[in-house]
């Protein structure tokens, strides 16, 4: 899938987020993207929604539950939350939601920065295979995939969605 189609998906997500925010009477949300793909999606959402405060980014390596198997990944940029989390309404953004473990780790890390008033989850792609009770509030698309097929976002420019057969490198979390 090419950039234009992905940009349209993200625009659709922005519109839905806007409605959700209005319904919940949230006027000053802040946004956090999860490294690496989530940050790419979040950058565009952040711009479209015209959020005043700088985008936050999260590197969840230190919070993963499979750390003892895969170790650290120093290649990923560190977390950067340039605002107070305490009592804020957060929009958490990732590229692919599957097992839910990444989101679990991200929420744990967010709470180490402070206690947010609420967290909304937006994801570009939703896949089957949840292992934790986590549901996205806003989803870009939910493609029909066969068991074991993978999908991943490459970027940052251009953003491309790659569909493929099972591979060893497919999304672990």
């Amino acid at each position: 899938m090419q950039e234009k189609a992905i940009v349209d998906l993200i625009d659709g997500m922005a519109a839905e987020l806007k409605t959700r925010l209005q319904q919940n009477h949230i006027t000053d949300p802040v946004m956090i993207g999860i490294h690496t793909g989530g940050v790419w999606v979040a950058k565009q959402l952040h711009q479209t929604l015209d959020i005043s405060e700088e985008l936050g980014t999260l590197n969840i390596s230190f919070y993963r539950d499979d750390f003892s198997r895969i170790g650290l990944n120093p290649q990923v940029d560190p977390s950067n939350i340039p605002f107070e989390v305490e009592n804020r309404h957060l929009i958490l953004v990732d590229d692919v939601l599957q097992t839910g473990r990444t989101i679990r780790a991200a929420m744990n890390e967010i709470f180490d920065f402070g206690r947010p008033a609420s967290i909304m989850l937006a994801t570009l792609i939703e896949k089957d295979g949840r292992e934790l009770p986590i549901v996205a509030d806003v989803v870009g698309m939910k493609p029909t995939l066969k068991e074991g097929d993978y999908i991943s976002l490459t970027g940052p420019s251009p953003l491309t969605l790659v569909f493929g057969k099972p591979s060893k490198d497919s999304e672990a979390q």
Binding site: F67, G71, V76
Partner: protein, 329 residues
Amino acid sequence: MMKGNRQTNSKGQLKHFLSIDGLKRDLLVEILNNAESFTSLARQGRSVKKVPLLRGKTITNLFFESSTRTRTTFELAAKRLSADVLNLNISTSATSKGESLLDTLHNLEAMHCDMFVVRHASSGAAHFIAKHCAPHISVINAGDGSHSHPTQAMLDMLTIRQHKGDFTPLRVAIVGDILHSRVARSQVLALNTLGVSEVRVIAPRTLLPFDARALGVHVYHDLIEGISDVDVVIMLRLQKERMSGALLPTEAEYFKLYGLTEEKLKHAKEDVIVMHPGPINRGVEMDSAVADGKHSVILEQVSNGIAVRMAIMSMCLGTHQDADMEDTV
């Protein structure tokens, strides 16, 4: 069984951290990169400074020799990783009641410890413990005799990299008591592995090992000559507690010849950084004006010590267990 280097498993991942000797450049760079991401934790404005990486692990500080800074930073590093920490002051514990070192170790193993951080006055103590402890335990050398102090060397490398970026063009001078310094030995190995352009050691003949040149360094006996045009000056502490015999005339005489003053420092590069592993003997190894001056990065070394130890602890405990289980298949 592990093959080759006792410090790494069959996949080349860190299991023990005993010495810089035998570790490849890639692994040292990986330690520095991981440490760099841990330094960012302190800057993030988090209300909780800990991360849960080593939650549920137990780390025992086995200090057979006293140390405040090293033990404290190891303890803090372990706690920032959410590990439980046991501090064993050996001089007041069972060994003084006649228990052998191995019996003490086996008792700690029976308490399900995952890592020993060892400091000992005898060279090779950490290697000995790594050799004899249960296979699931990782050992980190926090200084053994005059042999090695690899975590100190790595925190120095991190500090140098933060200021200078690339190692390859650098000239580094190490000044002082090379003979007794485990820090110097580890620094020289790390600097050469990371590929600096030149390592110099500057010391009176009585404070140099016989085979100093075999370390891969240029030897100088004159401070001004030795620090000319260097990018980094590392001052070592005069180890009074390890001196036997009259190696030096007086401290005042030593300061006159080898003490770093602002005047002498002018011979180094303009953007030189001055380092010291601490604790400083002010007025012996260096003037207070230098220790507190604009070239000094001594306090940054202390902060980096926590990040480097977090990186090494999490690398040792994070990956080796599965790999070694595969080894036995």
